[in-house]
Amino acid sequence: MLGAFFAILYYVATLILVIGVGARIRTYVKVPAPLIIPTQPAPKTRNGVFWRMFREVVFFESLFKSNKWTWVFAYAFHMSMWLVVARHLRYLTQPVWGWVEIVQPFGTYAAFTMILGLLGLWGRRIVVERIRYISNPSDHLMLALIVGIAVSGAMMRFVAHTDIVAVKAFFMGLYTFRIGHFPSDPVLIIHVSLVALLMIIFPISKLLHAPGVFFSPTRNQVDNPREKRHLAPWAEKLEG
């Protein structure tokens, strides 16, 4: 019963995530950038743009320039989240990949820095007048959702272990459409339900910042307008 529920939930959530984000990315690819608008100073080569984007997504360069507190919390949260996600691959692969084994101890304790980072961001949203002003209920709910996922996950790792072998067997079974037994551990149910919810709302929420940053013309354009003529297809039609 529980098994069937989560099986369907995860099939649906995965479809929504993949199709939803895919469709968004398709839109971003399809909509042209009519003018060259990189925030200057900007790199003059594709290679340079690659490194600019690399610094942006790996080091959060612009955020670092902007605000050190937000950077510390955001960086702690995001990088810890990647470690945690990487660690979770062990429940979705058999045999477990070598690098996932290496990440395992880091990914385990990253739960704490992830939660700290999230609470820091949430705290700023409540305490700092300017950020409180720009926050919508959805901004708080999104933080609540991710904190919920992180805390429930950490509880299963550090407080009350769940039957992780059964959980892995269940998810591995989904690859071959075998609906197995799902442990009726309340913390596990909360954790897995919230993750599915996150996957479902990803394509309709501000989480689109993740694919969006790669399509940001101020960050991904080469500064070569005098050397190379840039023309959007719709602008080409205006030329007649």
């Binding site: 100073p41 902007s66 919508n136 940053v213 101020t218 005098r226």
Partner: protein, 512 residues
Amino acid sequence: MAAQDIDIPKLHHPLEIPKLKCGAMADSMPYPASPAHQESVGFPGELLPDWKERALAKMKELGEKNRAFKVYLDACVKCGACTDKCHYFIGTGDPKNMPVARQDLLRSVYRRYFTFAGKYFPSLVGARDLTEEVLNEWYSYYHQCSQCRRCSVYCPFGIDTAEISMAAREIMDVVGKGQKYCNEIIGKVHKIGNNLGLQEKALRATLEGLEEDIEDDNGVSVRIPLDEKGADILLITPSADFFAEPHIEGLIGYAKVFHEAGVSWTVSSYASEAANFGLFIGSYENMQKVALRIRKAAQDLGVKRIIFGECGHAWRVAYSFLNTLAGPWDFLDPKYPVPQHILEFTWGEIQKGTLNIDKSRNDHIRLTYHDSCNVARASGMGDEVGGQFEIPRNVIKAVCNNYFDMAPDTIKEGTLCCGGGGGLLTDELMDLRTKGASPRMKALQDVTEEHGVTHMAAICAICKTQFSKIMPKFGYDMEAILSVHQLVSNALILSGQETEEDAGETAANSDA
């Protein structure tokens, strides 16, 4: 006097974060465009009965034509990184002048009509209906953005409020709610060729008068040619250079540099304007129409290269967009970039050693330099990344002994807008302009205190006009704002020009 009524914020630091003052600037509105102004730029004369449907249709269209618009409306996570970066927010404390809040004025409507969450859970995601009240709020606050892009430097996703503000203005224009200042000016360029509506005859007389002034001052005849076919260089310069101070001193500087370089050049009466306010209203079509005048002038006059005078947003349109809007420029000499900036030319001549410069002629000036936003964050200069910061400083340091930069977080890519850019340089917005200039003015006051700085140079016609009006409110002379080419002009000794030293020697010789 009205100016005294403006309470100028007392900043302890140029980037001091103010307390929120909700609604502080809600009444700030530029004059609306008259039906005639609207129609001159291809927009409906007054607010249409079906304005709401048209506004939403335009919003949809922009989402299909402009990737920046689409991505930026989706990607914001409300992290707050931009909230303290806008000079208008620092100067006014109005939270709707925080870049993200300014974007949200439009994003809230986008969400309501174009996103799942906004359609079904509007209050959860801050989505709202498009009403006349919202439209009026747009009109107020999208005319409190100078499109300077400072926020885009600090946004982790590069969200550029200028893109949203341009889109919002375009949406307002197509429903019949345009701004007088911009649209009247664009109409004049379409009809006459420059922002001032200066006819060919008047322009010729002005330039001849300037030639006489130069000869009177220097004893050497320097030409400012108009409509001369077969000249090598077409100079496109903001029309303010023809009549306003200190702009005109800059124009004299270009003329002297061209003269000494021994090149043939001309101004065009048909394309007698570098400025392109089509940018400010986000109208690709208007921007292109203005840019095409330059193409036609270049072809009619048969020039080999195009050089732009000192103007910030004009340089953005020239450097970043001209090839797109009015290219390809394959009929020009491929040896030179199209277009070039006058500072690229002058710096080249300085390096070649063609200019006879006496830096001590600027010794009465202790100088700082204001990086104009559109040059600093929206254009390049020269071949190197960051040339737009280095070339102006190189030229300044070549002609001026006493140079001091303002605080590092207020210059170069972090430069603060003058407060009058983006189509806000109009008298009815003086309150906003003064408050918006206060962070820049504080940074200036700091270098005055520390280094005794007396003057500030800029390479933007809007900056120059804005500062000549604003600086007196902050304890400076209106002549404390200078053109960079004014400094060049001061220090440049023309061939055959008799200097004071020469005069002294002649006197000494005759004594002997």
